[in-house]
């Protein structure tokens, strides 16, 4: 971000705050601070869960076995020392050693990343393709029968938790219609894209957690824009509804929705844990649930940090997008 002393017209700048830290740098500092706070929270939470040695080794482990386990995993050190060790490892790209498998955490996580990324992207695309047109149509024809139906359905869908929606989808699409596999276990066989149908049910389940929100946001924005005088002028000029919606309302109603979609990308990750567990989808969400149940703290910590990072970065990207699409904010950043 270069700073110009004079503008194109040769005038000196008038309202420039002196020596402001560039926007991007400020955001990056915020990112680092947030991630640092996240590491403290994650480590603190697993630390107060107590010593896992007995749970991992079993009820009949001897005291010697427990002591050996604690030394092996550094559990004999005080928590702050362990935290610094852990943090130091992460900065060097070392996520630690799994309590259960005794192998590197990364080896446990890495085969599951690909499927989860594809799943989240799929869910996000479904969200966009479904919610934007529906919200737009509903907002343009406010209080019509179409709008009432959309409002009714989105409220119903929003009221159901994801695992209920997932089960209903599985029964209808998987069992009754037999159109899709009920479980997504096929993903673990062969390549990432060998079994596309296995992504559909969990993907839709995750998307349905977000769609009602985006639909209603799109609807509200379209409604506001539709009541603007230039839209009414367009109507008076005799422009038909398709053109009116697509060329006049959508571009003006979209920016806040684009931002929300960016933020929701991070929100989708929460649905991933539920949907993956529900459908037996071999991804990081299922791994997180399994590792928490088996008290494999290093795996849980690494996944929590990973998800936290995605969340923070997605939020940052959404913030940047807000700035980009809102002229007022853009000016402030430039200033």
């Amino acid at each position: 971000m270069t700073q110009t002393v004079v503008d194109k017209a040769g005038r000196p700048p008038t309202r420039r705050a002196p020596r402001r830290v560039p926007y991007l740098v400020r955001q990056l500092v915020r990112l680092v601070v947030t991630l640092f706070a996240i590491t403290i929270v994650i480590f603190g939470l697993t630390a107060i869960a107590g010593d896992p040695a007995r749970d991992i080794l079993g009820q009949y482990a001897t005291d010697d076995q427990v002591a050996a386990f604690q030394v092996q995993h550094g559990l004999n050190h005080p928590a702050p020392v362990r935290y610094l060790d852990w943090l130091g490892g992460i900065l060097h790209g070392d996520l630690g050693i799994s309590y259960q498998s005794n192998g590197p955490v990364w080896d446990v996580i890495s085969p599951r990343l690909g499927p989860s990324i594809v799943l989240v992207l799929f869910a996000w695309i479904v969200t966009v393709l479904v919610s934007v047109p529906i919200g737009l149509l509903s907002g343009v024809r406010l209080r019509g029968r179409r709008d009432a139906a959309v409002t009714f359905v989105t409220l119903i869908v929003a009221a159901f938790p994801e695992f209920v929606i997932g089960l209903i989808l599985a029964i209808v699409l998987g069992v009754w219609l037999a159109a899709l596999p009920v479980d997504s276990t096929a993903v673990s066989a062969g390549g990432l894209f060998d079994h596309p149908s296995a992504y559909v049910l969990p993907g839709i389940t995750i998307a349905l957690g977000t769609i009602p929100y985006i639909v209603r946001l799109m609807r509200a924005n379209a409604r506001d824009v539709a009541s603007e005088s230039y839209v009414r002028a367009a109507v008076l000029r005799g422009i038909g509804e398709p053109s009116l919606s697509l060329r006049h309302i959508l571009p003006n109603a979209a920016p806040p929705v684009v931002t929300a979609l960016g933020l929701q990308f991070a929100g989708l990750i929460g649905g991933v844990v539920v949907a993956e567990t529900l459908f037996g989808f071999p991804g990081v969400g299922q791994l997180l649930a399994q590792s928490a149940a088996s008290r494999d703290a290093p795996v849980v910590e690494a996944l929590a940090l990973l998800i936290g990072t995605v969340f923070v970065v997605a939020n940052l990207a959404a913030d940047a997008l807000v700035v980009y699409v809102t002229p007022k904010l853009r000016d402030q950043v430039r200033a």
């Binding site: 009949y60 009920v182 479980d183 037996g280 071999p282 008290r295 795996v299």
Partner: protein
Amino acid sequence: MTNLISRRSLLMAGAGAVVGGGLLSSLAACGDSGSTSPSGSSSAGTPKKGGTLRWAVAAGNATQVADPAKASGTMPLLIATNCYDTLVRADENYKLTPALATEWSSTPDGLTWTFKLRQGVKFHDGSPLTAQDVVYSFTRILDPKLAAVGTAQIGPYLAASGISAVDASTVKLTLTKPNAFIPVIVSSAGFSIVKSATTDFSTGNGTGPFTLTGFDAAARTSLARYDGYWQNGQPYLDAIQIVVIAEDATRLQAVTSGSQDVVDNITGASTLLLKGSVEPYMLKNGGWVGLTMFGDTTPYNNQKIIQAMQYAADRKKIMSVVAPGIDIISPDIPIPPGDPFFPSGLTPRAYDPDKAKSLLRDAGVSGDFSFDVYAYEGDKLDTAVSFKSTAEAAGIKANVITWPHATFFTDIFKKKPAIGISVARLHISQALPRLYGKGGDLNITHFSNPRFDDLVAQATATTDEAKQKQLFGDALGIINDTAANVIPGWEGQVYGKNKKVQGLSAANGAHMYLAGAYLS
């Protein structure tokens, strides 16, 4: 929400090592050898060769290992049972058949056992089975550092120095204490024979009917037919794909919709949904459920209070909640009706709240008797809660405290006097000393009775079957009369299977043995 820990996880009594944490993850992980009576259709018609069997299990964990000596989760146990063999195979009622050993015998004093190995058996890597492999496998199990599941079963009777190879195909076990049931013990999945000097178990190099072609205990395990299997013509299947579906409802739908051929851990009323192209396959007598109390701690050291609790349990009602469709109620002993050693004539105590009330009065309790009982989600909690509701009529107030599974075995088990528990079926020669004997690793009732210990030791040492039955019968009578537990009945495992799946059988501790399985 989702059922990460399989609901019916049993205390793995056979597992010397693993009771706590997420490893206690499946009823299929029953501890000891042989146990159940399968129902539902099995082999009909002639076995057909070929095909891939798709199998979904409830419990999986990314970090489980494929070492059969440490197998405790569902997937590792399926690997132990189908990629490896034991010396002796046990059926659901401990009837033994030869496997890697063709014959076995003991000296009359029950102190020295000799096993003759089958000729011509080859490991998956082509090397022949020798006595040295058995010595290596058993020595590993006794190594305390390994924390093998079989240690607690054989440790009290055998030291590593007592294991020897007489020649290339004969193994001798010299015991420290007589035991007539060594063949039963070595039929457990934890006693699978591995190749000598193996330290990496990821290839599953056993002598069993299937080879291990892929292993990820949290996602997918793949088995393929081993053409060199010693059992004629078996296995029939080309391959088995085992995947994890933790959610009960999805697993049920996976088998009804045909995307899986067999699923495990069907619970409660879901069994009724198995119709049309699918049917239940039941292994009954998987394990017992109950309440256990420290019998040496006030107020449970008062015999009358324990008896009042036993009479206050409406066993039929409790079991209809805990294990619907299984319908096995029990006297207060850890051996199921139908076991060869079950004492004929011993009947469960009838539900009698009035008698319970008068016993409480005799015990000096005025007003209601109230006590705390801890349990975690699933069959244990069901048992405690349904006991509470039937015992209220007798003036017994059970304060059921739900404890998280994650810390139950660290903070509650063996620490709090009264708990709700479920324990996998054990052979009587294991169940009695470990659950009630002096120094027993599972003596959660703090039971202590020298005459009982003596009866069990005598019964275990003698090879005379009639004598065994009589001595064990007397010992069980003592337990039913005086042990501080309420054992209303038995629960089982229910699988859902497509009707085209035939020839399923359980072996070596209610683990599915699939050499004879085929798709019709």
